[in-house]
Amino acid sequence: MKNTAVECHHLDKVFKQGNLSVNALTGIDIEILSGEFVCLSGPSGSGKTTLLNMVGGLDQPTAGEITVAGQRLDTMTALQRADLRLHHIGFVFQAYNLIPVLSARENVEFVMQLQGIEEKHRRSQALEILDQVGLSRMENRRPAELSGGQQQRVAVARAIVSRPELILADEPTANLDSANSDNLMELMRELNSNSRTTFIISTHDEGVMKFAKRLVRLHDGRIVGDESVES
């Protein structure tokens, strides 16, 4: 039996800008299974980021239902959503991913500490995962002392360290060169294969899309394509 990681039904999101209403998402219906590696693609303004925000519990839909890890997100309070994010979802943002005053290891430990994991276990987990993403000698460096690619690796390490069911990455390679971009995507694919964690990645970069196992295309807030990809 296949488990569902994310399920959206008739999802709408309308942004109000003065007297104007902008339909960012319209009638989104999508089901993403556990362990999938999904790319949301589309031009700027197509609704990729808005959809990720909804799925990540960072924003509330205007209408429709969202279920993540078996829990209805659209009916939760802000605190309940924060708790869901903490325990079930990992995030990789486009930039400014890390807390500048913490070292790479401390950034990776941050989520685990919020989860209440004891220090000894936390530290060994963080070092192990940093090793896994190829940053074993850089655990004490602050973000400003890391390259853009290294910072994104730390962000990926932080996202996966507590083994969430779902990882959301919004344009994670937008600020990286193609070599670093490919390395990061290969890393995420590898983690997806090894841990069966579900990845949803938004991008408009063809180079990123080639790593997708499933490609969902958005345009003007609607899903206009949804296909499995053999990579």
Binding site: T49, L79, A82, V101, L102, F110, V111
Partner: protein, 407 residues
């Protein structure tokens, strides 16, 4: 981790934090320093009053305060065992009996009205100024010493000098004039000219002999442990000497008492005024810090940190800043006040303030209460002022804070 982030955030904008810390330090220094000077001034006035002769508590026969003559005497102490027991207790630091009557002193050149005070020289040490203020001649040796102690200013006015004879004239209990010649055995100097001209001291038995009075005394003056906290001692003294009028220095000198109350209120207002100036800087610094970290706050909220932790994080940063500033300010106060423990020369302005009991040397008085109050005002109100930026940070909606990153 929250404390670690808060601590490191404090030093992110080092220059801004140092400016804020300097402001807090100087603020607390200003509070403690100015208060120490003001307290020193008031203490000096109170000490002058207490040391002059009032003590902390005085006991008189009923009627003496309205007519301070030899007619109104307290019974001898041996007739009041309760009072004797109280005076021997630890609550009483020092005490002495006195005969105190109006008199006239005459030299071969001039005549002045004075207050003649018969004292027990041994008991008077540590209670009043006399023993420590002798600058010429010597202090009285016993209750029977028949020399007089005069103030330097009075000696000048009488145009006499040490070892010369003067005549004292007063009234005996039968209202007859009594007079006798005395040799000036000692000259005292005080910070107040009024004290130097007002009092003439002699041994208490010598004064009894002059006035032909019995074994009674005009007043008993005593010192407690703390001039601000006399309620218990006053109650016990009133109970032990129920036959007499018992008054504290505050009642004997209501002007100083009211000044003390005004000073307490002034200190609090002074603290709050300085704090208000500080608080603008503090709130501004924290608001700027929160504003600059909007994206980070959004990030950590997105990662699952609860708003209450974000509030706590900003408050810890504020507390750390306040505590460092307070520590530096207290150390600075200590370093600047300690070298002045022997006083500051204010002779340039002291003559104008002499009427109020100030001398030419002002000794800053640091009171634990003032230091605690200054620190508490800055810490508690500083924390309250920090609540607003901290609350603002905790109320940020993650998506709005992080929008700058995601789009």
């Amino acid at each position: 981790m929250i404390s670690r982030i808060a601590w490191r955030n404090l030093w992110r904008n080092r220059r801004r934090s140092i400016i804020m810390l300097s402001a807090i330090s100087l603020g607390i220094w200003g509070m403690i320093w100015m208060t120490a000077l003001m307290r020193g001034m008031v203490d000096q006035m109170i000490d002058s009053s207490i040391e002059t002769l009032s003590g902390h508590i005085q006991i008189h026969a009923p009627g003496y305060m309205d007519d301070p003559s030899i007619e109104y005497l307290l019974p001898p102490l041996n007739k009041s065992p309760a009072l004797q027991k109280l005076l021997a207790s630890d609550e009483v630091v020092a005490w002495s009996e006195r005969i105190r009557v109006p008199a006239v002193i005459r030299s071969e050149r001039d005549v002045y009205a004075v207050t003649l005070v018969g004292i027990d020289p041994a008991r008077e040490r540590g209670l009043s100024f006399i023993a420590e203020s002798i600058t010429q001649g010597s202090y009285l040796s016993s209750v029977n010493d028949n020399r007089l102690l005069l103030g330097k200013k009075l000696v000048e006015r009488l145009e006499t000098r040490l070892n010369r004879r003067v005549v004292l004239m007063s009234q005996d209990p039968d209202n007859n004039i009594t007079e006798r010649g005395f040799r000036i055995g000692g000259i005292f100097e005080t910070s107040l000219q009024a004290t130097e001209t007002a009092y003439v001291f002699a041994g208490i038995e010598t004064v009894r002999e002059l006035l032909k009075s019995g074994p009674g005394v005009s007043e008993i003056s005593l010192l407690g442990q703390d001039y601000r906290n006399l309620d218990s001692l006053l109650e016990k003294t009133r109970s032990a000497a129920s036959y007499a009028d018992v008054q504290t220095w505050l009642q004997l000198d209501p002007y100083l008492g009211s000044l003390l109350g005004v000073m307490d209120g002034f200190v609090l207002i002074w603290f709050i005024v300085i704090f208000l100036a500080l608080s603008f800087g503090l709130v501004n610094t924290l608001m700027m810090a929160v504003f600059e970290r909007t994206r980070e706050i959004g990030l950590i909220q997105a990662l699952g940190m609860k708003p209450s932790y974000i509030l706590l994080m900003i408050l810890i940063e504020s507390i750390a800043m306040l505590l460092i500033g307070l520590t530096a300010g207290n150390v600075l106060s200590w370093l600047t006040i300690l070298p002045l423990k022997n006083g500051i020369d204010v002779s340039a302005v002291a003559s104008g303030l002499e009427w109020a009991g100030m001398s030419s040397t002002l000794v800053p008085a640091v009171k634990t209460y003032d230091v605690v109050l200054a620190n508490a005002v800055v810490l508690v109100l500083g924390l309250l002022a920090s609540l607003f930026p901290a609350w603002r940070a905790s109320r940020k909606v993650p998506i709005e804070a992080i929008t700058r990153v995601w789009q």
